[in-house]
Symmetry: C2
Subunit: 92 residues, 2 copies
Amino acid sequence: MPTPRVEIRYCPKCRWLLRAAWLAQELLTTFEGALGEVALVPAGNGLFQVWLDGELIFSRAEAGRFPEAKELKQLVRDRIAPDKDLGHSDRN
Amino acid sequence: MPTPRVEIRYCPKCRWLLRAAWLAQELLTTFEGALGEVALVPAGNGLFQVWLDGELIFSRAEAGRFPEAKELKQLVRDRIAPDKDLGHSDRN
């Protein structure tokens, strides 16, 4: 299994696959060459979580909202490519 | 790692992420409740392959073309849910 591995766990009953797939593509595009894989993982009711190599980096239940793409990129960047400049995703 | 696991290996330089992500969503929608995960895996030049639990089920290099969604669903169905009727994806 290629690493770093991002896992996006989403609730299929809530129809959150589209969000999950969108964020997967954002990450794979931004971190081309630096991510091993992004897995889309159907999970329990109301769940939307992002994991990086076994660490929970975003939880909808904890945050009370969905992640923004910018925010997720910063969370991933800080862990796998701390020197990477995210351009406009790094302003404010 | 949840199973059954589908892995879509694609060439990012060829800009095949969009196809890979589209097919991932087709599979996750059709096999809701029956697939553990679909992973999008950036891979080597010109590569487009679909793996199911470690078995190569489609290779662009071997087939000389990309997979059709219908075809991929049949390949996955035959292995993880042989009794499942794919509706219009099963005709001709």
